[in-house]
């Protein structure tokens, strides 16, 4: 008899979701789906408010990566003002963004996925968590907590609070970094480097240990999308959108982020609140337009990292792809996250030593000069776009948030199917198997808090055609 297996809720991820696995008459996996069950509706209820409020409101999309929304929203605001944002403000925003990458990636590696990677996929579920990790490996747990804490302290040093700081605003930022804070942060860096080095060693051991089952955790061809700097380097604040395929061929070398709607379209399914963005030129059929974003994608699309330690590590990372091809296994997201922590620490060190931070010109002031503003930022989980249309008074008429986790939706579903087919045989289910399927989702570190607030701002065109291809009806929305 065919039956359905439900994993609900998926635990140790940042959001509300479940997985259903459908077994056929022969008890083999017919289909598996990743459902996002939460919905909040920011894009609708923000209409009618002022764009000045948006950094503060949209930070509340997500308590895990509020800084990403703060920055994307402020940058959309910069575009509406049509001003040049002071260099110091840009440097300070970059600094805060690196702080967030550190804290969010450390959270994912040590606190959410760490129990699986360190205690084991089959460890007792009652202690396969942060508390269990603290008991079994107290020093490692402490180091991980302190690494995350460093990122949070950096955010607090700039914005007065680590979660939802009301600091970055259209035109710049509200306050500079105090010299005492700068010195305190610099003093903590050596310990943070040691922790990342240790985590990288642990990661490589883990890759060896998981060698046999690793290809089941979402290893398949897909496109990869991320920002790169004008020189092709790893980039998290500005830059150009690059898209490559699974062979490493470049499909978009460097698209202006403002033009993202030309290459990204969104589909919907009745069984999830999370949409399915895809690469428009290749379409949705057979997942041809499926792409991945986030640390794995960013390391795949960039030509180099741009800092010494991260570049050294990136060269090792690339061996896992082989002969110029991208790394296609989702399990390597974990490794990519650690390399990005290392890169962020190096950039933080550079920025803290840069004299530009002490300049007091940190905000440009203007009124509405443009009616549409698009802001982009590389959030920990991938490329984040905010697009606002305002009237001449700055009142929002239209809001679109294209969020990282949504862009991984097709790939997360593919991963769940791959894992279910690999690990479920003859309808036999064991706790450890279900945990492996959940872990497949954890590799993406999905932020469902963010992802369920997406509005499709793509102009909608539905065409109904008859058997001979003749147009019967056509519905268009803006």
């Amino acid at each position: 008899m065919s039956r359905t297996v439900t994993i609900e809720p998926i635990t140790r991820i940042e959001g509300h979701a479940k997985i259903t696995i459908l077994l056929d008459e022969q008890q083999q996996v017919a289909d598996a789906r990743f459902h996002v069950t939460e919905f909040r509706g920011f894009e609708r209820f923000c209409i009618g408010r002022s764009f000045w409020e948006m950094p503060g409101i949209t930070a509340r999309v997500c308590g895990i990566c509020p800084v990403s929304h703060l920055i994307a929203s402020s940058k959309a605001g910069d575009a509406i003002l049509g001003v040049r944002t002071p260099e110091t403000a840009v440097a300070l925003r970059r600094l805060m963004n690196y702080g967030q990458l550190v804290q969010s990636h450390a959270l994912s590696f040590f606190l959410l996925s760490g129990p699986d990677l360190i205690l084991g996929m089959d460890a007792d579920p009652a202690s396969r968590n942060l508390v269990g990790l603290i008991r079994e490996r107290p020093e490692l747990a402490r180091a991980g907590i302190r690494l995350r804490s460093f990122g949070q302290q950096l955010i607090r040093a700039l914005g007065e609070r680590s979660i939802h700081p009301s600091w970055s605003v259209p035109g710049g930022v509200r306050r500079p970094l105090a010299a005492a804070e700068r010195d305190r942060l610099l003093g903590r860096l050596p310990e943070m480097y040691r922790t990342v080095d240790r985590a990288l060693d642990l990661m490589k051991e883990t890759l060896d240990r998981f060698h046999d089952e690793l290809p089941a955790y979402g290893d398949f061809p897909s496109l990869f999308l991320g920002l790169v700097g004008p020189d092709g380097g790893l980039e998290h604040y500005d830059g150009l959108v690059r898209v490559i395929d699974a062979e490493g061929r470049v499909l978009e070398a460097g698209l202006e982020p403002e033009r993202y709607e030309e290459i990204i379209a969104e589909a919907e399914q009745p069984w999830t609140y999370l949409k399915f963005p895809y690469y428009r030129p290749l379409g949705l059929e057979d997942d041809r337009g499926m792409y991945r974003v986030g640390p794995l994608a960013r390391l795949n699309v960039c030509d180099f990292a741009g800092t010494p330690r991260a570049d050294r590590e990136l060269r090792q990372f690339r061996h896992y792809g082989g002969s110029g091809r991208p790394v296609t296994g989702s399990f390597y997201y974990h490794y990519a996250r650690l390399i990005e922590i290392l890169f962020s620490l190096e950039r933080i060190e550079e920025l803290l030593a840069d004299g530009i931070l002490v300049d007091h010109h940190i905000r440009s002031r203007a009124d509405v000069n443009q009616n549409v503003g698009i802001g982009v930022s590389e959030a920990p989980r991938g490329t984040l776009f905010h697009r606002y249309r305002v009237d001449d008074d700055g009142i929002l008429e239209d809001v679109n948030l294209l969020i990282a986790t949504g862009q991984n939706n097709l790939a997360m579903n593919r991963t769940v199917r791959q894992l279910a087919r690999h690990f479920i045989r003859d309808g036999r289910l064991e706790e450890g198997l279900l945990n492996r399927i959940e872990h497949g989702i954890r590799t993406f570190d999905p932020c469902l808090s963010c992802s369920t607030h997406v509005v499709g701002q793509m102009p909608l065109l539905v065409e109904l055609r008859g058997p001979g291809g003749e147009l019967l009806e056509r519905i268009e929305r803006r």
């Binding site: 635990t11 609708r44 508390v131 069984w271 499709g456 909608l460």
Partner: protein, 181 residues
């Protein structure tokens, strides 16, 4: 509970919110290690329990009640927990999560999902919990023992409340710790 060597059973829950309160809880940083020695974390986004367990001493509930699943979980939390804390502004007042309340749910969904296959209607409700017409603060769904305000509450506030409750002391936050936002 001075003679009772049993660890205190602590749960956390995340209803309709942004997880900022849970992140602020993690900002307790190394205090977490101390806490891990005193409590068993029996439910929440950080642990693998699928069902809300019985006989929980203390539950921190983040977020507003926004859909039927939240409502059901809130009721189970109430009946299985000795002390329930409204954890953060969304749980206490509805906050940003309730900004949708002036818009009918159907309008909200059709504005967001513009294609015919949108998760609206009966087919969607097979897989997804129905949204309540209004996002409710927790106390409108169940009785709440302690309100811990803030968007999110700072780690200092969380430490003050959790420590008092674990010690069996009354929770008394000074005025500066009772602000919203």
């Amino acid at each position: 509970m001075t003679t009772d060597k049993r660890k205190i059973r602590l749960a956390t829950a995340w209803l309709g919110g942004c997880s900022g309160c849970h992140m602020s809880f993690l900002d307790l940083d190394e205090l977490l290690i101390e806490l891990a020695g005193r409590v068993d974390l029996v439910y929440g986004p950080l642990v693998d329990a699928k069902q809300f367990p019985e006989e929980v001493d203390l539950t921190l509930v983040e977020g507003a009640v926004t859909n039927v699943d939240n409502l059901q979980l809130a009721r189970i939390i109430r009946s299985n927990s000795r002390v329930v804390v409204g954890f953060g502004d969304c749980a206490v007042t509805g906050n940003v999560t309730s900004m949708r309340n002036r818009i009918p749910v159907r309008d909200l969904l059709t504005a967001v999902y513009r294609q015919a296959r949108a998760p609206i209607g009966e087919e969607a409700l097979k897989d997804l919990p129905a949204l309540l017409q209004q996002a409710l603060p927790l106390h409108q769904a169940i009785a709440v023992d302690v309100c811990l305000p803030g968007c999110p509450p700072s780690p200092e506030r969380i430490a003050a409340v959790v420590t008092a409750l674990l010690d069996g002391e009354p929770v008394a936050l000074d005025a500066a710790m009772r602000t919203f936002g």
